[in-house]
Symmetry: C2
Subunit: 343 residues, 2 copies
């Protein structure tokens, strides 16, 4: 309660002030601050009281100087910056990571590496040890920064399976293939047989896996995969429109589409409706992500929910584990089919 009431800045209390106030030594205060092992209950109590009374907060710089840790971690986005605007998942992820870290009292440093210059600057910053670890968002292939960080031995957890090199880099991902399987099975269960697909970028594991799930289910169901029903996009709305046009052109008898992102699915809906088709009566549409775009679309999209809250929590968990010496790990989390009006 006895905080700094004056408007000006006063010299903040140090561990020394707390020690004097509590009648113990610096060492004892430090031990209380770091877990309280080997401290008598009475000293423990006296120190805590002194901390409250003085309003003491640890000086992280002094601590970091000696421990060599920075007690902060970086959130690195190496995607081209448009993703920030287009992809609502990014926000959910960022928020989830920030909160998960906050629970450990670890600040998150936001790092955007859009240009080559920024990439260099940030790589230098990270390898200099200014953060203890990095949460990486970079779905596209062959990320040079990721490789550089891995080589430098910086603890690293990627969101989604990173390609390029590195079976040794941790990642957390949704089970894309299984999600795609669920959606295609759902479409089959509605009696649809001419099911098109607009894939994600095929240089990303996500894009590849979702397509693989589509193929698997059709094959299992004894339906031959018609390559004319497969077009690829880049997750953007406009590429969804383009994809839908190609599909309608090549297979006008299509009765369902599995679209690898909600944003693309919005574009698909627009094109289908413009062509006079009713959704879901004539063509059922399934999306992926369960982003706000899914409920903003009309009709509202049936989609595959990615467990973003769990993904961010796991990323933080795995990263912290790795920082404290554990081996890299891969975590795959289950998805969920969300049925709405579009199927």
């Amino acid at each position: 309660m006895t905080m700094n009431h004056s408007g000006g800045r006063r010299r903040p209390p140090t561990i020394h002030d707390v020690a004097r106030e509590a009648g113990v030594s610096r060492g004892t205060v430090s031990r209380v601050l770091n877990g309280g092992h080997y401290v008598s209950p009475s000293a423990q109590e006296a120190v805590n009281a002194a901390i409250r009374k003085t309003g003491y907060v640890v000086n992280r710089h002094a601590r970091s100087l000696i421990t060599g840790r920075s007690d902060s971690i970086g959130f690195l986005l190496t995607e081209p910056q448009e993703r920030l605007f287009e992809d609502p998942n990014f926000n959910v992820l960022l928020r989830g990571c920030t909160q998960a870290l906050a629970a450990h009292d670890i600040p998150l440093l936001l790092m955007l590496a859009g240009t080559e210059d920024e990439r260099r600057r940030i790589a230098r910053y990270i390898t200099a040890g200014h953060v203890d670890g990095v949460l990486l968002v970079s779905s596209h292939s062959g990320d040079p920064v990721a490789e550089q960080l891995r080589k430098a031995g910086v603890p690293l957890v990627a969101c989604g399976k990173p390609i390029g090199l590195g079976s040794k880099v941790s990642y957390v991902a949704a089970d894309d293939r299984d999600g795609a399987r669920d959606m295609v099975r759902h479409l089959l269960s509605l009696g649809r047989r001419r099911i098109g697909v607009v894939t994600g970028p095929l240089d990303t594991p996500g894009g590849v896996e979702r397509l693989a799930g589509y193929r698997e289910v059709l094959t299992e169901a004894g339906i031959e995969v018609d390559e004319r029903l497969i077009v690829s996009g880049d997750y953007s709305r406009s590429s969804g429109e383009a994809g839908a046009e190609r599909l309608l052109d090549r297979a006008p008898d299509m009765d369902a589409v599995f679209v690898a992102s909600d944003l693309m699915a919005q574009g698909v809906l627009t094109v289908l409706q413009r062509s006079g088709r009713r959704v879901p009566e004539d063509v059922a549409v399934g999306g992926f992500d369960d982003s706000p775009a899914a409920t903003a679309a009309s009709p509202e999209l049936t989609t595959i929910r990615q467990p973003w809250d769990r993904i961010s929590a796991e990323m933080v968990r795995v990263l912290l584990a790795q920082i404290s010496g554990e081996d890299p790990a891969a975590v795959i989390l289950p998805t969920e089919l969300v049925k709405r009006r579009s199927t």
Copy 2:
């Protein structure tokens, strides 16, 4: 180029190593690092060569320990967390601030204060001096954190005019009133006379100002303001739908609507079209923000562009100025009318 090639972590070079390599003293290296005043050209050069050779990067913790600065700043969001998802402006702002700070080699710490607990934790963190200043996003009224930070003397710049107390807190905002004036003038110029308005939340300066602009222009044009044509929303899409329904109910002869956000305008479009009205033939619709929602809407929205890139750059500029001792300042930036299909 001689960076840390091994996978393991080696002791990074210190200012001492650089000094030895360059054949000068620590002091001289430090002076080169901090602007290079009072350093001979030859020493300057030797130090720079040594820095390159050793791959030296300053240890920020050691520096901060003595300077008392942290050389990092916080980006604080005290809005309820949904804003993160709904509002694309947030992303643009966050990106702009991060990049503007990166140019000064200052990392941005992301702080989300959704709950009361988080608010307390973060206020404590900030007042402890772990950041040199705060960029604040908090459009709603009476923010206790802002007030607390102001009292503690933490340099602070808000995005949008903060209400509650504090003419002494810096802020950067778009000229909401003027933007609204532009839009309503535009609608008048199209010959519309029964112009409705869906306002933003009226406990925010933005909401109030946009409504004020609307009133001003109508009055100037000699048109009496019809209170039935005024309904209020909260910037969300659904509140736009509700607003449009109320407007149609109260004034079926309305021939234009000024909507205080693009997201709400999307909702308005949906309702108008559902009611059988053509946009823009029967009813013209003007939005506000020029967010992605504006171009995603059909027809694409005429809207008021807020200069988010300049807003973020100004916020950073004003904050850094304030940190280096200047007085708080208010900056108002002009908006721009973007004409599209909806008017």
